[in-house]
């Protein structure tokens, strides 16, 4: 893509992408950190994740401001306009992903007897997948790559499958051993959060597709 005649426009767009990439990186780190803390029962790490979320929130505010500024001052058109609108929405979604990570990190303290839970081995894998989705979708955004975005959308089915299996697993634990209900319910929320992260990554992928092509991906992909 060639440069804009007005160089400052290019600089604004580059900065906007930089902010989104930074938010995405922080969100990935937050997911990983939250799961690490969960698996290892590391309260300190969990606290760090919770603290890190404020940085994501601050970045979202910055993206909002920059987007409004670009729309007001540069009057973007066509793919530029779509990209700015997508960035605005993606920032909101990534902020939500950050919130979910924070939510997971907050639950670290309330889970006991973590060795006994089989799902604790499944959850990191699911988290890995979710964070990979977030990573890929942001790569797709940066590259304006609708194909990669569609792959991300396809990956969401796997995350959903993970969620279903973990759900069944935890329910059977609760049935077998009512003493674990409290912890298992917490883990259920964690799995639920990871599934939501996957859904949000899918939303972002759709926006990336729209920003890149001007159309939403066909229904069979969703």
């Amino acid at each position: 893509m060639s440069e804009h005649t007005v160089k400052a426009f290019d600089e604004d767009i580059t900065r906007l992408r930089g902010l989104i990439a930074e938010m995405g990186g922080l969100a990935e780190v937050a997911i990983q950190g939250a799961l690490d803390a969960l698996v290892r029962g590391d309260q300190e790490l969990a606290a760090k994740v919770v603290e890190g979320d404020t940085k994501i929130d601050a970045l979202e505010t910055e993206v909002d401001k920059l987007s409004v500024r670009i729309i007001a001052l540069r009057a973007p058109m066509a793919d530029d306009l779509r990209e700015v609108i997508a960035a605005l929405k993606i920032a909101g979604v990534v902020e939500r992903i950050g919130d979910y990570s924070k939510n997971i990190a907050k639950r670290v303290g309330s889970i006991e007897g973590r060795d006994r839970f089989e799902p604790l081995t499944l959850l990191p894998a699911m988290g890995e997948l979710a964070s990979e989705m977030v990573h890929d979708v942001l790569t797709a955004y940066a590259a304006r790559d609708p194909d990669l975005a569609r792959e991300v959308i396809a990956t969401d089915a796997k995350v959903d499958a993970f969620y279903n299996s973990i759900f069944r697993n935890l329910v059977s634990y609760m049935v077998e051993n009512p003493a674990t209900i409290s912890s298992a319910a917490q883990l259920l929320f964690v799995a639920r959060n990871l599934e939501r992260i996957g859904d949000h990554a899918t939303n972002v992928a759709e926006m990336v597709h729209f920003a890149a092509t001007g159309t939403y991906p066909p229904d069979e992909d969703r």
Binding site: M77, A78, L81, G214
Partner: protein
Amino acid sequence: MTVIHEKLEDKNAKMRARDVSVYYGDKKAIDEVSIDISADYVTAFIGPSGCGKSTFLRCFNRMNDTIAVARVEGKIELEDEDINGPSMDVVQLRARVGMVFQKPNPFPKSIYDNIAYGPKIHGLAEKKPELDEVVQKSLTRAGLWDEVKDRLDESGTALSGGQQQRLCIARAIAVDPEVILMDEPCSALDPIATAKIEELINELSGRYAIVIVTHSMQQAARVSQRTAFFHLGKMVEYGPTSDIFTNPIEERTKDYITGRYG
């Protein structure tokens, strides 16, 4: 050659241009352009300077006739009648296809005479009461009546730029044309005057087939329902305005619209 967006309904086409080329001497200024003009929508021609959009616009009322070296090929029809054909007189054509120019160009006569001139030379209104009615109707339709009704005897050139341009539009509609061609009508006006002209274009569309050439993409986006992008004498892309501005197909259109041209 031209990318045309999904099937555009053109049953009510008022004017049809087919494979129109314009030469200035040996230089080809317009290269085989085909387009339909209708009263159902406002058509905007956009493109960089020198892309030939104004030249093409001037084909529709044969204003290129006044340029000795200009030569027009191809066919342009006004209601299925060839405008370059023997049955069409150029004076009659220009009465049916009005034009508004870049720089407001009221005649250095009174406001009244500016409007009454067209109907007078065509003999559309002979007597004073008839003329009065035409003048009032045209000025009202151009949204100028309330501003000038008390000073119809003043010179048209004494008005402000925006009022002058609306006077020119009123002058064009005084002969009740079917098509109005506008060649960058707001390029010499301030934003408020521009907004008034744009509102006027909105009001006039439907009654007249309006074609507007503009340098301002925002203006094309605001007033038109169809947009054609011209580049180097070719019509590169033509489609609904909303599509052209949010999701153009051709790379050149996209580059121009997003400010990457050149």
